[in-house]
């Protein structure tokens, strides 16, 4: 059995691990268009800050590929997939035949049409790859006025600006929406976040877009013109608006694509023996109850694992995922889970706010469907488990708001351990001499 995996990141490696768990001898080939072994892609901003280094940015241990007998092909870009004769064609013309194929090609950065944007300039670019981070590190040294513009106030933009700020530049975030992290945060939390950014030398221009980048003679940016007509100085321009599924190379392969790759419950695409996962796949969103692209690390790993298990011949279904994210901005931890801005009238919002902490819960009837935690995030995992399982927990509303999120776990665990009920013998099973291994069945 020959398995071919396109994409050497979270989804692809998780898929390879799952295959290896059930199939110890099959050939696994991992194709990547980058020249590095797997690295922690979202950490490139921490690389600029110096929180991770050239030694610690690697996702797996050094001998990971040899130990698991994975064949790694670096710097090879897949240009097309021929599903009829079961082969992947690479850029250099080589053809790789497969029995089972996994596509974890991830996303390519989306650049809105902007006059003057030139990704080949050493002072301009997107921010999703290790090479981008290295480029920006170099660019920061050549910046004359120490001014940087980051287009996009989402997670990529925020982390990019934090990284550039750590390199000593003054950063301005230009965001189309009325606040940073506009899709995940609400007005109050967005304002708290903006305030924290402004205190640390990052300006936010919200409700704005960059209409034109003025270039100097060498093709490097000099200044940018905003929609409102304002002109800002810029040595560096980073576009971090978002990513789109990287599915261009699948054209003509017969694989059904609607924005991303359409998959069924087993993560198989519309073509047999071809599976997909990660940022490139469209999965079922359990909260919005519709197919959706959710580009986050935990789901990429889950999808890869389900796909890999099925590829190795063990049936497994993926129940679907939900959006959740966590970020820390200058000491302010932010966790957003599920539907944070109510979409219809049946959803009710409960809020708690004091000096350092902000909590928001969104309930749909008795079911918790979304939450924002700012400042104090302890126990946020319990909330994400509750939201994902759709548990009825309206009676815990006040305790969640006050930060006693653990009380839910205590109650449910005590129920499992069965020691708050009247009939259970206090002191657990040791007091039950009748039970032993021999008469258990």
């Amino acid at each position: 059995m020959k398995y071919v995996i396109i994409g050497n990141s979270y989804a692809g490696l998780s898929c390879a691990d799952a295959i290896r768990r059930f199939d110890k001898s099959g050939d696994v080939v991992i194709i990547s268009d980058e020249n590095y072994r797997a690295y922690a892609r979202p950490l490139i901003s921490y690389y600029l800050e110096g929180k991770t280094t050239d030694e610690t940015i690697w996702y797996k241990e050094d001998d990971y590929y040899e130990k698991n007998n994975f064949k790694l092909m670096l710097g090879k870009k897949a240009v097309s997939v021929d599903t009829a004769s079961k082969k992947v064609v690479l850029e250099d013309g080589a053809e790789i035949y497969y029995d089972k194929l996994f596509i974890g090609s991830g996303g390519t950065p989306f650049v809105p049409p902007t006059e003057g944007f030139n990704p080949d300039s050493p002072m301009m670019g997107t921010f999703t790859k290790f090479d981008d981070a290295k480029k920006m590190e170099k660019a920061a040294k050549f910046a004359k006025n120490k001014e940087a513009i980051v287009v996009g106030g989402g997670l990529i933009g925020l982390k990019a600006s934090e990284g550039l700020r750590a390199l000593g530049l003054h950063v301005t975030i230009v965001e189309l929406l009325p606040r940073v992290l506009g899709l995940a945060l609400d007005e109050i939390s967005g304002n708290i976040t903006s305030k924290r950014l402004n205190e640390n030398g990052i300006d936010t221009a919200t409700g704005e877009t960059v209409t034109k980048i003025n270039l100097d003679g060498a093709g490097n940016p000099e200044s940018v013109i905003l929609k409102s007509g304002k002109i800002l100085k810029a040595d560096i321009v980073v576009v971090g608006v978002g990513v789109r599924p990287n599915v261009g190379f699948l054209e003509g392969s017969g694989i059904k694509i609607d924005r991303g790759i359409i998959v069924d419950k087993t993560m198989m695409t519309s073509v047999k023996d071809v599976y997909a996962g990660g940022d490139a796949a469209v999965i079922y969103d359990i909260l919005n109850k519709r197919p959706n692209i959710i580009a986050i690390v935990p789901l990429a790993c889950e999808e890869g694992r389900v796909a890999g298990t099925n590829m190795a011949g063990v049936y497994r279904e993926y129940p679907g995922g939900m959006g959740l994210n966590s970020v820390e901005i200058y000491g302010l931890p932010i966790v957003t889970i599920g539907l944070t801005n109510p979409s219809n009238e049946s959803q009710k919002v409960y809020m708690f706010q004091d000096e350092n902490v902000y909590r928001k819960l969104v309930y749909d009837g008795e079911v918790l469907v979304g939450a924002i935690l700012l400042g104090d995030i302890s126990g946020s995992g319990i909330l994400s488990a509750v939201i994902r399982q759709g548990l009825k927990c309206l009676k815990y509303k006040d305790e969640f708001l006050n930060g006693n999120i653990y009380s839910f776990v205590i109650d449910s665990e005590f129920e499992i351990y069965n020691i708050n009920e009247g009939y259970a013998v206090r002191g657990d099973f040791e007091d039950l001499p009748e039970f032993s291994r021999t008469n258990w069945r």
Binding site: V327, S378, G381, Y423
Partner: protein, 183 residues
Amino acid sequence: MQNKLTNLKEDLKKNQIEIMLYPSKCDGCESEGFAACIKACEVHMSKKFGSKYAGARINIKKKAGRFFPIICHNCEEAPCVDACMPGARYKDTESGWTVTNYKKCVGCWMCVMTCPFGAIERIGAGHFASKCDGCIDESMPKCVEACKKGALKRIGIKNYSYERRLMVAKKIYGPYIKSVEKR
């Protein structure tokens, strides 16, 4: 206890080791003024990881007179491993425990956000997410050693599943067992 689980030693030697909770026995060490397990863990962690990554990996939460030790449950397909962006958290293949390479941890709090037991703590000052590693290189987890109430026990995976099954059985057949006992 001993005669019932005859293969306890063998199980401990051969199989993955888990920490079993008996929350009904936990009283939070209220009379002592400090929880013995937390104290023991703190001391051991600062010895093991140095002052930078010190701090207890076990916590006791109280609700209406009931105490529950919050500790890593060592999930089979751990959400914290999936969520870990730098690859700092991984499954130790030898011991089967989910452990952390704190040098790689950058403090993105993805694991804190996904742990369904709330067993991972954000250490804001040190910028790392601390989680129990089961004391895999020790002969006995320090919290288990310190607990004098019998609320924590070290146990092999076979006995662990056996005891959990017993608990479920007791929940379903509990009333029946009690009536047998009375007779």
